[in-house]
């Protein structure tokens, strides 16, 4: 499965290019409207073309991401996908309780993290040693909160609550709680 870093790099590139383009367009526009021009009329076709472009952009973003970000369809269809491993995790009084001290996962296993809150709304996120995010979800009390994930690379990850649950809960962190290992022979 494509790593979230790859997706974030792609997004950074696309959004940065867009920002630079719109800054240039607005700068150009600000300059041009202070100068006399020959043709001040905007053609209706330009307006309708722009509208069409917005429609295409708005719709295609989701189609593109659905077909290129592997966790998107997996997330929507997770009820039909059988997980290779399930971790039942609970959280109460600003403290995670894991089924084991360390959650050991093998590469390419489909793993379901099922988190239950017994009091407040929390978040559940996995983070790399450089603090970048692998994924997150909300943990709402009284409801099942589960996420299916497939790891392709070995690594050690920290669990952190990604939602504010009051001033007591700003650092609900379990350092190096998830370890993913790859067995080269099994992968081949």
């Amino acid at each position: 499965m494509v790593d979230s870093t790859v997706v974030l790099n792609g997004q950074t590139l696309a959004y940065t290019c867009y920002c630079l383009a719109i800054l240039l367009v607005m700068g150009w526009f600000g300059y041009k409207i202070t100068r006399p021009g020959k043709n001040n009329k905007i053609a209706n076709t330009l307006f309708y073309s722009f509208t069409g472009m917005l429609v295409v952009l708005g719709v295609s973003l989701h189609i593109v991401t659905f077909n290129t970000i592997p966790w998107a369809p997996m997330d929507l269809n997770r009820a039909e996908i059988k997980a290779d491993k399930v971790f039942n995790i609970t959280i109460e009084k600003h403290k995670f309780t894991l089924p084991e001290q360390t959650l050991n996962i093998s590469c390419n296993e489909k793993v379901l993290f099922s988190v239950l809150s017994h009091d407040l709304t929390y978040g559940f996120g996995l983070f790399r040693p450089d603090n970048s995010m692998v994924f997150q979800m909300q943990v709402v009390p009284g409801h099942p909160n589960d996420i299916l994930w497939q790891f392709e690379k070995p690594g050690t990850y920290t669990i952190r609550s990604t939602e504010y649950s009051g001033p007591t809960g700003w650092n609900i962190i379990l350092k190096d709680a998830v370890i993913v290992t790859c067995n080269p022979t099994a992968n081949n």
């Binding site: 991401t65 909300q138 409801h143």
Partner: protein
Amino acid sequence: MNFLQTLIKGEQALFKPDSLTPMQKLTLRFVVIGLVYYAFAVIEGMLMRIYEIQPIPAISTNQFFAIMTAHPLVGIFGSTYSIVFGAFLFLVPFLMKKPLWSIKLANWNFWLVTIGTFTFWFSGFLTHYAPLYTLYWPLPVDFSQFSVIGGIFFILGIALVMLGTVFFVINVFATITYTPEGWEKQPCGALIGSALGISGIRNLFSRNKKEHLVSLPVAAIARGTVDVALNSGIIIFTGILILVYMVFALFGVSLKDTAIDALLYKNWFWWGLDLVADGLVLIFVAGTWYLLATLITGKKLFMENIARAALFVELVVSWTVWSHHLLSDQAQPGFLKVLSGEMVTAFELITQGLAFFITLATLWSARPLKMTNPLKFLLGGLLGFALAVPAGIMQADIGLNRILHNTQWVIGPHVHVAVLVGLAMTLYAAIYILFPILTNGAQLYSQKLANFHFWGQLIGGVGMGAFMGMAGLHGMLRRSLYVNGEFNTYMILAALCGALLLLAFLAFFFNIVMSVGINGVIGIFMPSKLKTKELVPSQV
């Protein structure tokens, strides 16, 4: 005039508060209080920026999160609502060429928003009540973390603001529809139909096209006000619910918080809350762009009928997009995530994009234009939304939300760029254009300060949003603390941009005070000597 004389009497002593009508004074009071609360929000924002770099010993963690709770509420209700209410209570009658329906109600509106904002801010400051504006159930009633008394006063403060907001809604619609003394009977139903867009829809399917009875900016104000009304209803209901738990707790009875379904509550509350961010703000801003573009150019709006239709679509869209805030809630039904969270939300790119294009085309039709303060701030406001709306559309995607939700990306390039560049610069454009009308011809003290205000707001706002966004893309959460300097490079750069924003605001505030003088500022708060319902003095 020397500096001291200007400071006391204003630029060339042109501002005469005694010449102001009650309506002018009321509008200026709204603006002054709105700017004071903006200063509150900016200072709070700077405190949080510094705290994110290095926790300040004098501020406890509880206080930090109380600031985080108050900051957006003071910014939206205390500042933006005040400025918007003041401007629209003046503009609706001004554009319809008739007096405001009730200046008494507008005065109540002013005091309730002013006192209510101070009440919830002060309550949070003293008691550290900090459930954040999201109020995720059952955090607001978690009395193991928060004081009951603090919570009661906090909620009462919000309730006062909402009551003031209801008065605004009544006054806007009553002003549109009522018949002033000595006037021919006004067609109440037809006016409301035109304002809300019903007659526009009828025109689509009828051969007999009827003329619009209200101008486009008034239609925009009316449609945005529908969302204001719905939003205040949801907040009042939620406030009462929380208050019931608090009052019982005060008498030692602990109500079972599981009686409320946390996910259903989250849907309900986000539906109402989102009417601000994805409803009234976008509609009011589009309406203000159209008004500014026509005032600056003196020309008819480009594609006016489509602009009207887009405002109507935006209103309907604003009722159906709340689910993009719940894309990371796994129990939320998938169809709501896709339909409301992704697909309908994408319409905001279209409606806001159309407003952007129509405004630019109207400006283009009148070139060459002089780069006045209203024009440059209008362009800044357009740029702000051109940057912030696509950022929002990206995070309203099931795939991308998985790695963006609750990160600094959401609050940086999307929220702060939308608010500080898009919304604030649009409001500043309106203030600069209305300033001579509301002050009967007072002059701005310094154009250099106005220029610094523009560049400081633009660079500071875009820069802060960009550095927060970079931190978010590297995993920094928005409602958390990092005490080991994990994201310090980004946070220091964001704080520098924040400092520029603060300086820009101080330059603007100083410029306005020097323009009207301290006597003028005091005079705004004194009762008007003119006993008139007119908006501006007849001799002006």
